[in-house]
């Protein structure tokens, strides 16, 4: 009999048999003719949605349809950071729900996702920025989220080797969320996929959607490369490509697709034990368990579906890194890549019904989609199952741009490349 449960005893037992007795992490079923819910997009969000639909809402006749292999999009291309240091009322409770779900995720899924609450430290470089961070920290604490304002000496005791006396951007302190950290991104997709599969969800890979069938104003199914699949309810969870898939249903979204680059260095000895962000430019860094420095910065700033960016942003990111921690200058860059971001018009996501009956939308995650994965899955599942929004996701309406209820953390207005 094949072993399914992951535990130290089963690992030991299997190690004696050359690990030949494990059950595959998920099946590879042929698509059925019809499902109660079909989710387009086998990324972190889509798989989490399927899992919570089955686990919390008892809907197990579900398919997740993915154009390539699961986890081949943004869930495998991000910088793995999780945090809930948001400021606005519509956002804080949502991201805090996500962080709490991360904290219990591995037990819930019986899967090692390497959740590491190593702390995220946002540095400030001026009195004005300190005041802004104090305000953000206070907003978080009013919602019961942990935040702590550190002065320069406290940051020095954590990271004595930063460039504190940088003439242009001296480090004056930081805002730390100790419960923030990193999670192994691929394992999130695999863990949700395995757990959803065990509850009866069909994961259908290499089935790119080519058309959405709409009859009398109601979405009834999808044409895919593996044939037509009928759906009582259809859910879009394809951030990066939301506009393209929504266009198949005749919808035009308040979203632009932009490329965001990320970088990883060669593996080095333990160097930085938390997540740190530079406040005077756009640069953030952590170290993976393999030893590579994982870092990134700003969007390239123009519409793109190319999954790769240009050199001016590479230069900008590396300059930010050098200003903060000059000792990374001798580390060699291993590789860089780009992910496609659903940049919404106010920098916040959309989890809502659409003007088309039985068509549900989860989109517009900008570059915050990974950290949101568990909460996005849970609240999207709630919306699909109950036909009403989850309490923590009520603000993420599709019509908020028309009604003036934007959630704009950065105050940039309808300029997606600036969020």
């Amino acid at each position: 009999m094949l072993i399914d449960h992951y535990s130290i005893w089963n690992v030991l037992r299997q190690s004696l048999k050359g690990h030949t007795g494990w059950k595959p992490a998920w099946r590879e079923p042929e698509p059925k003719a019809e499902y109660d819910v079909v989710i387009i997009g086998g990324g972190g969000h889509g798989l989490a949605t399927a899992y919570y639909l089955a686990k919390r809402y008892g809907i197990t006749n579900v398919a997740v349809v993915e154009k390539g292999w699961i986890g081949s999009g943004n869930v495998g291309r991000n910088t793995t950071i999780v945090r809930s240091n948001y400021m606005l009322p519509g956002n804080i409770p949502f991201y805090e729900l996500a962080l709490q779900l991360w904290e219990g995720l591995e037990k819930d899924l019986n899967y090692n996702a390497m959740v590491s609450q190593r702390g995220i430290l946002n540095l400030y470089h001026s009195d004005g920025q300190r005041d802004a961070y104090a305000r953000r920290g206070n907003a978080m604490r009013l919602h019961g989220v942990d935040a702590e304002l550190l002065d320069e000496s406290q940051v020095q005791s954590m990271y004595p080797w930063f460039d504190y006396d940088n003439a242009r951007f001296p480090i004056k302190g930081g805002l730390i969320q100790r419960r923030g950290g990193t999670v192994r991104h691929d394992a999130v997709a695999w863990g949700y996929a395995r757990a959803a599969d065990r509850l009866g969800v069909d994961i259908i890979q290499n089935a790119e959607v080519t058309a959405i069938r709409i009859e009398n104003g109601r979405a009834t199914g999808i044409e895919t490369k593996r044939g037509f699949i009928r759906a009582k309810k259809l859910a879009l969870s394809v951030a990066g490509n939301s506009s393209r898939v929504a266009a198949m249903a005749g919808l035009k979204l308040p979203i632009e697709s932009h490329v965001l680059q990320a970088f990883v260095s060669e593996g080095i000895k333990p160097f930085i034990d938390g997540v740190v962000t530079f406040g005077a430019g756009h640069f953030y860094i952590s170290q993976s368990d393999k030893g590579g420095l994982v870092f990134g910065g700003d969007l390239d700033g123009y519409n793109s579906y190319a999954q790769r960016g240009n050199l001016p942003v590479v230069e900008d990111v590396l300059e930010g890194g050098m200003a903060l921690m000059p000792r990374i200058g001798r580390v060699r860059l291993l590789r860089s890549w780009g992910g496609i971001m659903d940049m919404s018009m106010d920098g916040s996501p959309i989890i809502d019904k659409t003007p088309i009956d039985s068509l549900y939308l989860n989109a517009g995650w900008c570059y915050g989609g990974f950290k949101a994965t568990p909460a996005a899955g849970l609240t999207f599942a709630h919306l699909i199952a109950r036909d009403e929004p989850h309490d923590t996701a009520r603000a993420y309406r599709l019509d908020r741009f028309a009604t003036g209820r934007m959630i704009d953390e950065k105050g940039m207005g309808n300029q997606p490349n600036l969020h």
């Binding site: 506009s243 393209r244 266009a247 579906y305 050199l311 741009f401």
Partner: protein, 97 residues
């Protein structure tokens, strides 16, 4: 990616600022559906994977506004015109001055 400014020639990307979709036009504020039209103008985007007409501003150069047609899948640029020329052509097409 480099952009050929009609006035300055081919220049590096970091001389330019990106503004966005050049196909949307400001609606008539006195029009019957002004509210809905302004929502579409300000927020709805086609966001194509493929040819995209977009506004760039040559901020570290001649300060011209440009309409660039670029493939969003490959970043290949197929045409660059000044926004002024594009607007003039649009007016001629409408039968205006």
């Amino acid at each position: 990616m480099r952009i050929s400014c009609p006035y300055c020639g081919e220049r590096s990307l970091d001389e330019y600022l990106y503004i966005g979709d050049a196909t949307v036009t400001r609606p008539d504020p006195a029009g019957a559906n002004a509210q809905a039209d302004f929502y579409k103008y300000a927020y709805e985007r086609t966001n194509p994977a493929g040819a995209h007409k977009e506004l760039w501003y040559h901020s570290a150069g001649c300060h011209a506004w440009l309409v660039v047609e670029r493939d969003t899948r490959t970043h290949e640029i197929s045409s660059v015109e000044t926004a002024k020329d594009v607007a003039l052509k649009r007016n001629v097409a409408k039968g205006g001055a």
